[in-house]
Amino acid sequence: MTPLVEMRDISVSFGGIKAVDHVSVDLYPGEVVGLLGHNGAGKSTLIKCLSGAYRPDAGEIHIDGKKAEIHNTRDARAYNIETIYQTLALADNLDAASNLFLGRELVTPTGLLDEARMEAETRRIMARLNPNFRKFSEPVMALSGGQRQSVAIARAVYFNARILIMDEPTAALGPQETQMVAELIDELKRQGLGIFLIEHDIHAVMKLCDRAVVMKNGQRVGTVRVDEVTDDDILGMIIMGRKPETAV
């Protein structure tokens, strides 16, 4: 089977810092690949190359086996790549619907924004993702951390993504909301999406992911199948920056 995504030999540096140093990862349809590593390991920078936010200094990205030209986030969206950024990337002064459709607004035949339809669509998807959500007409700055997160997730899920990038999607969530995100990931996986999941909680990784990529100081320590290793093996990789002997 051809992988959905292949990132080959990606390098990104900021000034003198090598944030990502010759890293290769791949992702298959219906697969969840966890990205792990300490803060500053380069996880966010790596996936931002795929989402079009950064352009790598070196390396190639292949989608469905073909070389992809991703110069900006619009290009990425055209490949059905959707991203939930660590910072959420919400415009705090706008309401949920405006954020959900930001950059892809629905318009009436006269070319004006179709606010009513956008709000209706937002209500529809939020009813699925976060049934308790009510604050449709308030700016998202008035929302709780969990509510904001659900808006960001809704935006990524709404547009029929094939490749989903989730950068610490549960960082601001309580246990119940975290559970809902876990169920969502399982459901999307069953629908055949490929998901990159950046997550610090090792138990969540073991439960949700098929494979895990560990990074340290911009380099890839190794890639393992989670059912072939233990929590401690992965923790060891994160801390020591070395692949355990038992892993494949």
């Binding site: 986030t73 415009a91 002064n93 954020n99 930001l102 950059g103 009513a116 339809r117 700055m141």
Partner: protein, 430 residues
């Protein structure tokens, strides 16, 4: 939302919420009403006479038009200190265009019907071009807007100075003068028609907005609240027209008009001014800018970029091009204001629009535009301009000298922003 308010104020907020009138706007209208009332008492009602209201509106137009553009600039976290200078250059270009180039160089002759439109287009193009240049320097070259436009403040007025060799240009083209205010009004009948159309449009907007919400089963205002809002809108529009219609041309001026036509003025003849063309232009600008702000992608992207530039960028918004568009629009409005300001002064003096940048920024800020970006309204900025002009002309009326006028306007500016900060704190924003 709030645990600071006692029960009484909560019920008050409830019915205000039903009306869905923005509390902040209500506060500003209240402040404006207070200013008007105070001056009216002190001046024995002269301040609220039809004549003064007419003059006040005319004086506000130029700053108010530019303030609507400044809202977009500030919402997007920029600033434009060059608007007064751009206005001066646009005015200089239009001055030489109508007084020298078109009549002499092109040989159109002084009264040619093409002079006024070509002149106005030249002013609008000048403003738009300089605005676009500002936007390019800010957006693509990453020079802070403060610096670019501070430079522009020093540059453009004096480019105009060289264009006119420092001379005041007058007299101006007769058609052109119609855009200044008192020289070009619709007259009573046409003003009623315009008012009626505006009222009908307002009712249609409110009604169709309600229909749209109902179509999607969203909550709508109760019928009584809808009726109140509609009545308020119609009353305001028609009341404004009635006041402008009731201000009559001086008898001496009327007699001259009749004499010019070779007729004799009938005994007891009167004629109201009605809606000035310049005010009509402001209203059209206000409507267009409000639609842009709330109902177009362009406006949505301005607010999104002001709220979170990174988020806008990540959403695929071309924030650099957006910056060019915002400043170009600002420049266009400066050109438009130049037409009105010059026609009102009936000449192009070199100091036209001096300090307008400060008035325009103050109007936008008093009107609730946050310098931190992301927040601001068009109607707020216009109301801000009106409040400042009222303060100034009211104080002039009671005999306060210019230094005191400046001090008061300055205090009001700081006070308005302070109140705004308190208000937002209470709402738990920022």
């Amino acid at each position: 939302m709030s645990d600071f308010s006692p029960a009484a104020s909560r019920t008050r907020r409830n019915w205000l919420e039903k009306l869905e009138i923005d509390l902040r706007l209500l506060g500003m209208i209240g402040a404006f009403a207070l200013v008007c009332l105070c001056f009216s008492v002190v001046t024995d009602g002269r301040f609220l006479s039809a004549r003064n209201i007419f003059n006040l509106t005319i004086q506000t137009v130029s700053v108010a038009i530019m303030a609507t553009g400044m809202v977009f600039v500030i919402v997007c976290r920029h600033i434009d200190l060059s608007v007064g200078a751009i206005l001066a250059l646009a005015s200089a270009v239009m001055g030489v265009m109508q007084a020298r180039w078109l009549p002499n160089a092109l040989g159109l002759g002084l009264g040619h019907p093409l002079i006024a439109p070509v002149t106005m287009i030249s002013g609008l193009v000048t403003g738009t071009a300089i605005g676009a240049l500002n936007g390019w320097l800010v957006g693509y070259q990453r020079i802070p807007a403060f610096i670019v436009t501070l430079g522009g403040l020093l540059i453009w007025r004096y480019v105009g100075w060289y264009l006119t060799a420092g001379q005041t240009i007058a007299p101006l083209n007769q058609t052109f003068l119609l855009f200044g205010g008192a020289e070009g009004t619709l007259g009573v009948g046409a003003s009623w028609v315009a008012g009626g159309l505006a009222a009908a449009a307002a009712l249609w907007v409110i009604w169709s907005g309600r229909r749209r919400k109902q179509a999607h089963d969203f909550p709508v205002r109760p019928v009584w609240a809808e009726t109140v809002v509609m009545t308020l809108a119609v009353t305001l529009i028609m009341g404004f027209v009635a006041i402008l219609n009731s201000y009559e041309l001086p008898q001496a001026k009327l007699r001259r008009i009749f004499e010019a036509r070779g007729e004799i003025m009938p005994e007891g003849y009167t004629q109201g001014y009605g809606l000035p063309i310049s005010v009509l232009i402001l209203i059209l600008v206000a409507v267009a800018m409000t639609v842009i702000a709330g109902r177009t992608r362009f406006g949505r992207y301005i607010f999104a970029t002001g709220g979170n530039p990174d988020a806008a960028e990540l959403s695929g918004i071309n924030t650099r091009l957006l910056t060019v568009k915002i400043f170009a629009l600002m420049g266009f409005l400066c050109g438009l204001s130049a037409i009105i300001a010059q026609a009102r002064l009936q000449s192009h003096p070199n100091d036209i629009g001096t300090l307008d940048e400060l008035r325009v920024i103050a109007a936008a800020v008093i009107g609730g535009t946050a310098l931190s970006g992301g927040i601001g309204t068009i109607h707020g900025a216009i109301l801000g301009a009106l409040i400042m002009q009222s303060l100034q002309s009211g104080m002039a009326m009671v005999g306060a000298d210019a230094p005191l006028q400046n001090i008061v306007v300055g205090v009001v500016l700081v006070l308005a922003v302070w109140i705004d900060i308190q208000y937002r704190k209470r709402l738990g924003m920022r």
